[in-house]
Amino acid sequence: MFGFGVLKGMSVTLWNFILSYVYPKKGITTVQYPEQKKEVEERFRNFPFLVYEGAPDNMRCVACDICSKECPPKCIYIIPEKDAQGRVQKKPATFDIDYAICMNCGICEEVCPFDAIFMDHEYELAEYERLSSLLYHKEDLLKPVEHFAKIRPTDYGRIEATRAAKGVKGRAQPVAGAPPKPAETQQSPPATS
């Protein structure tokens, strides 16, 4: 008979209607966003950031350009730092990521041999400007390694263990001698200003 199937379907919707009042835990599935926030999973990845240890100066990145070349949409732009003699230093002078282009694939993190770039948990990045505001520079990208330890403790533990096994301590120490000093002098003006 025409109608029983309709009634059966209507019983389902009525059940859900009632359930939403008497047992909202099951009956309501939405999250009231700005007030409530769903906890992101540890592996959640959204936009890369650079890691430093201690001071922002002491970043792990050595400007090897691997991530920039592997990045599928090519959103990373690196210029290594040069000292007074024009020799290339193991440190980026410019490290820009265009968040407007980045597609959160996480390949930069996977290919980085120095554990210097990781995916963040940041997802509230609304901006008025499409081009300039979403172009993140080195200063915006740098975050302490503690931040990484906080958002992804498991990965942090694993990576630190392999790093310790390999005997890497912080950033690869510059060769003793001339290079560190010009690098420091070069870095100091922006630090004071």
Partner: protein, 381 residues
């Protein structure tokens, strides 16, 4: 309309362009339809509004770098897209996949099938005119699976999870429990879904005997996936090719008899139930620990730009939720694929859209399109 047309005795045809901005063309798809009253006398699909030359992009970057782009083909089933691409590359380079990784892959693929079919049924009902209720129930259940994807792969939709020779990461702590919970509750949800829909007379009368696709035409037009099986052709690549470890699971291939929209709807429901069976067996069989990425694959994943598969060509295909998803790769021994071609199921499945729609009403055309299950990311690439 000109005055002469008004007074002529000829049947007056109305030419309507449905799409690209239309609520139910599932994206930016367009159908140029000629109507006699409400009956369709001609229908020409127009596509390409979302074309981004995926194939050429892939030919200009390393093999691995295309992996995140495959997520964006059929953005509902990124896991199966990854699966097909990984299969093709493994075939090309001869990479083996470790046992546990195989299980994880099948787990992901079947969960994706659940997502896709649930969502499709929801969207189909939207096309039928239901006010989002089935869609939102579908979303409700999908969220749970997406949570699991997020915990495992790091992203909800654009998973980028498969690697050549395995998967990116092992299941997280508590991941197995999460899947068990999903699998346990899913058939209960399907029961609820069916109570809401299957016996509904409006749905039945709207869907039955609408858009019939004959067995012969379906085979001849290279239709694959649930649409083909709804027409009664027993062809499931999981059974035919027995790729990955599908030969270890007991499951059936549901077949329709008429090949109309209703069969396509119901075959999908039945397929979901079979998927749940696969998942249940899988959870029992899955090894507790094991490698997830073979050594050869790990080398490819660590420095993709240096990794060079041997010259040759390979065609890898899987049964994606929408049909046969294949990747045809030609390598010239360089780190970039010389030719990279996607055989997208939804693109080929709309070949016969006109044949199915002729003589039906406008409303039916929408429903037929909905039942074919296209995703424009995949059609246009």
């Amino acid at each position: 309309m000109s005055d002469t047309a008004v007074h002529s005795q000829e049947p007056q045809l109305l030419e309507v362009s449905i799409g690209p901005q239309h609520p139910s063309t599932h994206g930016v798809f367009r159908m140029n339809v000629v109507l006699d009253g409400e009956t369709i006398v001609k229908l020409k699909p127009v596509m390409g509004y979302l074309h981004r030359n995926h194939e050429q992009l892939a030919e200009n970057m390393s093999y691995l770098a295309s992996m995140p782009y495959t997520d964006r083909l059929d953005y509902i089933c990124s896991m199966t897209n990854n699966f097909a691409y990984a299969m093709a590359v493994e075939k090309l380079a001869g990479i083996d996949v470790p046992e546990r990784a195989q299980y994880i892959r099948v787990l992901m693929a079947e969960l994706t099938r659940l997502i896709n079919h649930t969502l499709l049924v929801g969207f189909l009902l939207n096309d039928l005119g239901a006010f989002f209720t089935p869609t939102l129930y579908a979303f409700r259940e999908r969220e749970k699976i997406l949570d699991f994807f997020e915990a495992t792969a790091g992203s909800r939709m654009m998973c980028n999870y498969f690697r050549f020779g395995g998967v990116k990461a092992d299941l997280p702590a508590g991941g197995m429990e999460q899947v068990k919970e999903i699998v346990k509750n899913y058939s209960r949800f399907l029961d609820e879904f069916e109570r809401l829909l299957t016996s509904n007379e409006i749905l039945r009368s709207r869907c039955q005997n609408v858009g019939i696709l004959s067995k012969e035409l379906a085979v001849n037009a290279s239709i694959t996936g649930p649409i083909l099986r709804a027409s009664g052709v027993n062809y499931d690549i999981r059974k035919v090719d027995k790729y990955s470890i599908y030969d270890r699971f007991e499951f059936k291939v549901p077949l329709g008899k008429v090949g109309d929209v209703y069969d396509r709807y119901y075959v999908r429901i039945l397929e979901m139930r079979e998927s749940i069976k696969i998942l249940q067996q899988l959870l029992k069989q899955m090894p507790e620990k094991g490698e997830i990425l073979s050594a050869k694959g790990a080398a490819a994943a660590k420095s993709p730009r240096m990794w060079k598969p041997p010259a040759g060509d390979a065609y890898g295909r899987i049964e994606s939720p929408k049909g046969e998803l294949g990747f045809y790769l030609v390598s010239d021994g360089s780190p970039k694929p010389y030719r990279y071609h996607v055989r997208p199921p939804s693109f080929i499945n709309i070949t016969i859209l006109e044949d199915m729609c002729l003589g039906q009403k406008v409303a039916d055309a929408i429903v037929i399109l909905g039942s074919v299950d296209i995703v424009l990311g995949e059609v246009d690439r």
